[in-house]
Symmetry: C2
Subunit: 206 residues, 2 copies
Amino acid sequence: MTQGVEKSLIEQGVLVDPQSARGRLLTQAARLFRQKGYQSTTVRDLASAVGILSGSLFHHYQNKEAILKAVMVEGIHHTMARMRSELAEEHTTQGRLRALIACELDALNGDWGDAMAVVINEWRFLSDGGQQDILALREEYEQMWLEILYQARKERLITASPKVLRKLLYGAITWTDKWFDSRGKLSYQELTDTILQLAIKPASDP
Amino acid sequence: MTQGVEKSLIEQGVLVDPQSARGRLLTQAARLFRQKGYQSTTVRDLASAVGILSGSLFHHYQNKEAILKAVMVEGIHHTMARMRSELAEEHTTQGRLRALIACELDALNGDWGDAMAVVINEWRFLSDGGQQDILALREEYEQMWLEILYQARKERLITASPKVLRKLLYGAITWTDKWFDSRGKLSYQELTDTILQLAIKPASDP
DNA sequence: TTGCAAACCAAGCGCTTGCTAGGCTAGGTT
DNA sequence: AACCTAGCCTAGCAAGCGCTTGGTTTGCAA
């Protein structure tokens, strides 16, 4: 299902084909930006990672920042598409909340982890204009969270303010990319459940 | 009380007197490193912030990284001293846990927020040796958290694994420095309580 | 008054950085 | 056969970077 989402996005022209020269560049850029940071990654690093010389990068992208922005836009588009598709299969508020948590965890620790880590950590290196463009995409994304959290509040599933809770969860989840290893003892599902239990009250026994 | 902690640390030589040239430099460095990031802050920025020329910095510190490290060491020392002093006044596990949360929130959003934000966000720019030195300090700090969380688990105050819970709380709390404004609607106490409620089960009514 | 160390300045070196200009080549179109 | 364009290379520029060196000023102690 995830594969299907990805493929249709490529055909729509939203994502760049990862097989193409541009696509390979973005993949490598995401990896390097995450690993070394945007500023510590030189255009020479980027170029040699895809087997070309530094000057040739600027045939594909206007400047270094445009590469950063492209990585971010791809990551967000992919994550949102993924999230919509998973939400469509959940019909309880708790299930939908769990799906959000699982998606955000996977966005950071799965195949698209590099790109999403860059979205979060290299944000400040975009120019003002670039930040606004990305912000517009992210607000749409945050809206999905808030809608479900407001619903959860109505159903007394959560007690905290949705806006505050969202920010706390955001911090907790995004930080996992610094410590969580999906091949370790703690499974992906256990972590999802632990975070879900932070957010909601335990089910009141009859 | 906080003032007292600070003063005695200065007299012990653990902290640099903030009035001195070195101290003013560290204060400004923390501010700039937080605001612009370590790499984007040039030695010329640092120098002009304290009213000297760039070359004169190296009379006080061997190189730029030494300034970063000094900012971090000061921040951690201060935060730990503060934490110990507050923990000494709490005698219930829940009270102690709340104190930890409050201290960590205040460390990031109060007077020493700049230095602590640098500890968290500019970590990677230390050399390997520098990272290990700071790590040794931080492990001591984390131990204080873990001891109390293990105790809370014994008392069935929390259900999650202490280690995992600590990391989730760490992410949630440190992220507050990106959004929390202590002059806003949400008070410092409310935020502390909200986070505490995430960690612990609600008190079971009799 | 002299001596001395801490603090700072003036000038610039060596290096890396993002980016540019102009030319070459292979593959497809007309 | 002539042309075009996407993709890459070669060579290097201008700017900014951390840091060094040698000299000057300042404040305090003897």
